[in-house]
Amino acid sequence: MRKNVGINSIALITLLFIGLPLIMIATTAFGEAAVIQFPIQGFTFKWFGDVLNTRSLMTSLWTSVRLAVIASMIGLMIGLPTSYALTKNNSKMSQRLLSFFLSPNLVPGIVMGFALFKTLTLTFRLTVWTSLILGHLMIVLPYTIRILAASMRELDPSIEEAARSLGCKPVETFIRVVIPNLKGSIFAALIMSFINSFNNLPVSLFLKGPGVNTLPAALMNHLEYNFNPTVSALSVILMVITFVMMLLIEKTIGLSEVR
């Protein structure tokens, strides 16, 4: 079974193909030359200092973090009651609504960006921050609802019944019984929301405004004029963030639950 040479070699090539480019970029962040070269010569941390000193990158990093936190939080506040209702009432209507709520995921990002730019920014003249938050809410909502609905379906209903029969009111049951039981999934939903909002380019590209830029968009700009190890260093920082997030998901509900 394990001696299938053909399959094994394709798999190894594929895994190398997936791993090597990122390892290469990570390595180039530590080279001393001002151009990206591989293999590197010398070893330095100065490009990381460069990232920290590039204001456009740092302010946009801060913007992206705040935006992702706000969008994930609002996404959770809206997604939690919604997924609860959808899983407690397993009608045809609920299934339709669920696919409706997951539909933002099916709209190409660039289309969503343009549509929101045209309506929220041009027609309704919302502020940059408001439209960015609304746009990113559409990005995070499907992830939140999918993860929460899946884990609520697995929640043993007898826990809630026990609480009710002991005299707990519905809202109280929800807050004191349902939510604590879903702690892990709620946390995972928040992290997946954060990652997806943080990484989004197309929606932010349209909705960013004067003085407000998200990190992926700023990085795109930066790449046009500075093709140097600073970008590699920033990539390393982003990869470390990704790695930490993955560890956090793995520790709470396991990676296989969120894909």
């Binding site: 970029i25 190409p108 660039i110 549509a115």
Partner: protein, 277 residues
């Protein structure tokens, strides 16, 4: 649950998605039908222009190629991962998941360094004196395909691994004990059993490539526009709202058609005859 409570819980989300997604999309699409009288003129003009036809054709072509390559490499890899010991398996799954959660700009940037004029491939080939002049690998359709495969191969693999994990190992053992060779197990048991998973993965890769913006704009350049980069150019640089709205609808319709078509196909061709969890 009482109907009123149900409504109260679901309504905010419903209103939000309707107002922030559906209404804006309808509003950008309407002008593409109504501008200059109610007609399909814009679509007819657009679809008969060789320049736009080229972009539409390129988008479809590269999406199909990307999907095929992802399937070709993704299916064996997912199988390889699914039969590993638990500890190795989770390690490999994490390895595959990692790029998926890493920013697409970073992943595009990585390939710019591999494919560029002074990139890894050119340097390598020149050091071996196989070529004299650096090859122009960047800003080609090839670069877009490589970048897109890199972007979506992990998606194909994670989708397929979870399907393959659910295959009953008794089936595999039965086939082996009846004298099948490992490759026969793969082609005659595993692939038919996860056929619908392959279709789901293919839809994800296809629609993903079709609508991706980052990769074609970083690796394709202006010569190799795809629908997403064209949409951005029309909207952001030329302020041609009608064209942008039209391209939006074309992209949505293409994605939905492929999705519905594959769903139908998967229902018809599913060889398992029973539902998987």
């Amino acid at each position: 649950m009482k109907k009123s409570i149900y409504t109260t819980l679901v309504l905010p989300c419903f209103i939000l998605v309707t107002v922030v997604l559906i209404v804006p999309i309808v509003m950008i699409v309407i002008p593409s039908f109504t501008e200059g009288g109610l007609s399909l003129t814009h679509y007819i003009t657009f679809l008969s222009d060789p320049f736009y036809q080229g972009i539409l054709w390129r988008t479809l072509k590269l999406s199909v190629i990307t999907t095929l390559i992802c399937a070709l490499f993704g299916i064996p890899t997912a199988y390889f991962i699914s039969i590993q010991k638990k500890s190795v398996k989770s390690l490999l799954q994490a390895l595959v998941m990692f790029p998926l959660l890493t920013n697409a700009v970073v992943r595009g940037f990585a390939w710019m360094n591999v494919l560029g004029r002074n990139g890894l491939i050119n340097k390598f080939l020149m050091s071996l004196s196989l070529i004299e002049e650096p090859l122009s690998l960047m800003y080609t359709e090839l670069a877009i395909v490589v970048g897109s495969v890199y972007l979506f191969l992990p998606l194909m693999i994670t989708t397929l691994t979870s399907v393959m994990e659910n295959i009953d190992s008794d089936l595999v053992n039965a086939t082996l004990s009846l004298g099948a060779k490992p490759y026969q197990v793969f082609f005659k048991v595993i692939i038919p059993l996860c056929f619908s998973g392959i279709l789901v993965g293919s839809v994800l890769v296809f629609t993903g490539t079709l609508s991706a913006y980052t990769t074609p704009s970083l690796l394709g350049g202006n010569q190799n526009m795809m629908l997403a980069t064209l949409l951005y150019q029309q909207a952001n640089q030329l302020s041609n709202w009608t064209n942008a709205g039209m391209i939006s609808l074309i992209m949505i319709v293409l994605s939905l058609t492929v999705m519905k078509g594959m769903n139908r196909l998967s229902k018809r061709l599913d060889k398992r005859g029973y539902e998987h969890a």
